[in-house]
């Protein structure tokens, strides 16, 4: 695993404009960074990332099954009890999932260690499935990269195939389904991610509509509506379950049949309570870090460094690093009232001057590719940079 500098494509910003990739630069700082790329061997990809991702995904599904059947465990996930049935029903009905992203610390040598599972609203999807694919294609065609370079990235192919499958499942429930897509107002990044999925859905032959999360309405009977007053029966929402369940329309959920992507049971996986549950069920697994619930502080020894994470933290908010009982680094944010967990610290590897995090994608239970992000801080936050990668050798 190497970080290799490369010349940027002369026209990439113009291309980004044409393809509608509007968030390559955010808040005046580079987000998409093609001044360098990461190179992996096929063995690193297949043995160290692809196989462990599929294993961990299965372990996660095992945890969901266990937690859903046990109220004492459900309690630990910080989700409102009035919605436990709604969550459990989606699991029992095998409501199909589209995708998720596991975040790993991986240095090319030692086993990849799981940081967390972005199972509900993973982003950096467009950059991975489409944009870094195009980067490789063009660099190979223009002779800057060797023709034997490959990429671990079947994301787009698998997304389209999975959407086609989910369409078939939906059509057995109702004829002529429209898939609504929703994200919040004010985020170019989220709108871009959802637009990409709308394009993938169109490729899969699905009729789509868009509505902003804030514009979703309800009728007298409690059915959800879009801004054209059309009834929503099938929706992809780039909006966290733990928010929806606690908002005023949350009480309408489950009253009328609506299929969600991601399904409600994903709220157990995008939750940091997953981490101590995994460690409890699969102790000493080479790809897991020791993790404990907030009330298991006796396990949090002062010989190790620990990371304290709120159950619902997003993009590195409200995370602190605890060394010999003292907080040494702390990030800001609005989370933490719901409880927290401790995870043994495992520093991200450093390449040049950057801390590097690997995101490993899953679609339909299969590993589907990786994304590489770099940050100047050891806690990856939303302003980290995205770098492309290749497989060679």
């Amino acid at each position: 695993m190497f970080r290799i500098p490369i010349k940027e494509r002369d026209d990439w910003k113009m291309l980004a404009e044409e393809y509608g990739f509007h968030f390559h630069t955010m808040h005046g700082e580079r987000y998409w960074d093609e001044s360098a790329y990461y190179q992996f061997t096929l063995a690193q990809i297949e043995h160290d990332l692809e196989a462990p991702s599929e294993d961990i995904h299965q372990m996660c599904l095992h945890v969901v099954d266990k937690v859903i059947k046990d109220e004492n465990l459900m309690q630990r996930f910080g989700l409102p009890a009035k919605h436990w049935d709604f969550i459990a029903q989606s699991w029992q009905a095998k409501a199909p999932s589209l995708y998720s992203r596991l975040d790993f610390a991986y240095d090319g040598k030692s086993p990849a260690k799981l940081y967390e599972n972005n199972a509900d609203t993973p982003t950096s999807l467009y950059e991975t499935g489409f944009w870094q694919w195009l980067w490789l294609e063009q660099n190979v065609n223009q002779g800057r990269l060797s023709i034997d370079c490959d990429q671990f990235n079947s994301l787009q192919e698998k997304l389209i195939a999975r959407l086609r499958q989910i369409l078939q499942i939906e059509q057995t429930k109702r004829a002529g389904q429209t898939l609504h897509f929703a994200c919040c107002k004010g985020s170019i990044e989220d709108r871009g991610t959802v637009q990409y999925l709308e394009d993938c859905a169109a490729e899969a032959g699905i009729a789509t509509e868009f509505v902003y999360v804030e514009d979703i309405g309800r009728d007298l009977a409690g059915q959800l509506t879009d801004s054209k007053n059309q009834v929503i029966t099938w929706i992809f929402k780039l909006y966290p379950w733990e928010f929806m369940l606690n908002e005023s329309f949350g009480d309408l959920l489950g009253r009328h049949p609506v299929s969600f992507i991601e399904p409600p049971w994903k709220s157990l996986l995008s939750n940091k309570a997953l981490l101590p549950m995994l460690w409890r069920e699969f102790p000493d697994h080479p790809n897991l870090l020791p993790a404990y619930f907030g009330d298991e502080i006796h396990n949090v020894t002062s010989e190790s460094t620990w990371v304290k994470k709120p159950l619902f933290s997003r993009e590195g908010a409200n995370v602190s690093i605890i060394q010999s009982g003292n907080t040494v680094v702390e990030t800001d944010g609005p989370y933490g009232q719901e409880g927290h967990i401790y995870q043994q610290a495992h520093m991200l590897p450093k390449f040049d001057n950057s801390y590097t995090l690997i995101g490993s994608w899953l679609v339909n239970d299969q590993a589907a590719g990786i994304s590489v992000r770099e940050d100047s801080s050891p806690i990856t936050q939303d302003m980290s940079r995205y770098l492309p990668h290749v497989i060679r050798g």
């Binding site: 404009e17 393809y19 509608g20 079947s154 004829a175 009729a207 309405g217 009728d219 908002e247 005023s248």
Partner: protein, 196 residues
């Protein structure tokens, strides 16, 4: 190969670049509509028009008409009051539907121009006369306009006659989702995503 084999990049293109794609001049509605992702339909007001303007038989036209009426009940925009409905559609252009809401009368319906007989896998969407700020315009139940292509022929987005429109209802309130995001947004000025 560990990556996606082929990508239909044109699907993901948001703006065409004329320097890359030299403008080709051509004639013919078919090529025109294919190029712009559209399909052609015949708009008819009733069964008689349908028999005159399409190659469908009387029986086929009656089935298409019934199909359109049923679609209209399901998918037409719904309003709480007749007055509110008539603001968007013409006076006396709305009626009370079964569930007590008011919906516009359909002004006609559409038949895919490529069809020469009734196909039950197709949709015969109703159309309405919408009072826009530019004058009366023919629209589908979700507001998609019909663009005139000559005579009774119109263009609509490709795939229209193959897909249904969602069932519509009358919305009584909005904003019940997104509340926590707007509360949390004030914590960080660099906040760019609710994903992760």
């Amino acid at each position: 190969m560990k990556r996606t084999k082929k990508i239909n990049t044109s699907r993901f293109l948001k703006r065409s670049n004329l320097r890359r794609a030299p403008l080709v001049l051509f004639a013919g509605a078919f090529i025109y509509s294919t190029f712009f992702n559209e399909e052609e339909v015949t708009y008819v007001e009733n069964v008689d028009d349908c028999m005159a303007d399409t190659s469908l038989s009387q029986q086929d036209c009656e089935m298409a008409y019934k199909n359109a009426l049923a679609e209209s009940e399901k998918t037409a925009p719904k309003f709480d009051t007749q007055a509110r409905c008539e603001q968007d559609f013409r006076e006396d252009g709305c009626y009370e539907s079964d569930n007590g809401t008011f919906i516009p009368m359909m002004s006609g319906f559409m038949i895919g121009s490529a069809l020469n007989r009734y196909d039950r896998n197709r949709y015969y969407h109703p159309a309405y006369s919408y009072l826009s700020s530019y004058g009366t315009q023919k629209v589908m139940s979700d507001g998609t306009p019909l663009n005139r292509a000559g005579g009774s022929r119109y263009t609509v987005p490709r795939g229209t006659t193959e897909t249904s429109k969602p069932r519509s209802t009358s919305t009584i309130s909005r904003g019940g989702f997104g509340q926590i995001a707007s509360r949390n947004a004030s914590y960080s000025s660099s906040r760019s995503s609710w994903g992760g």
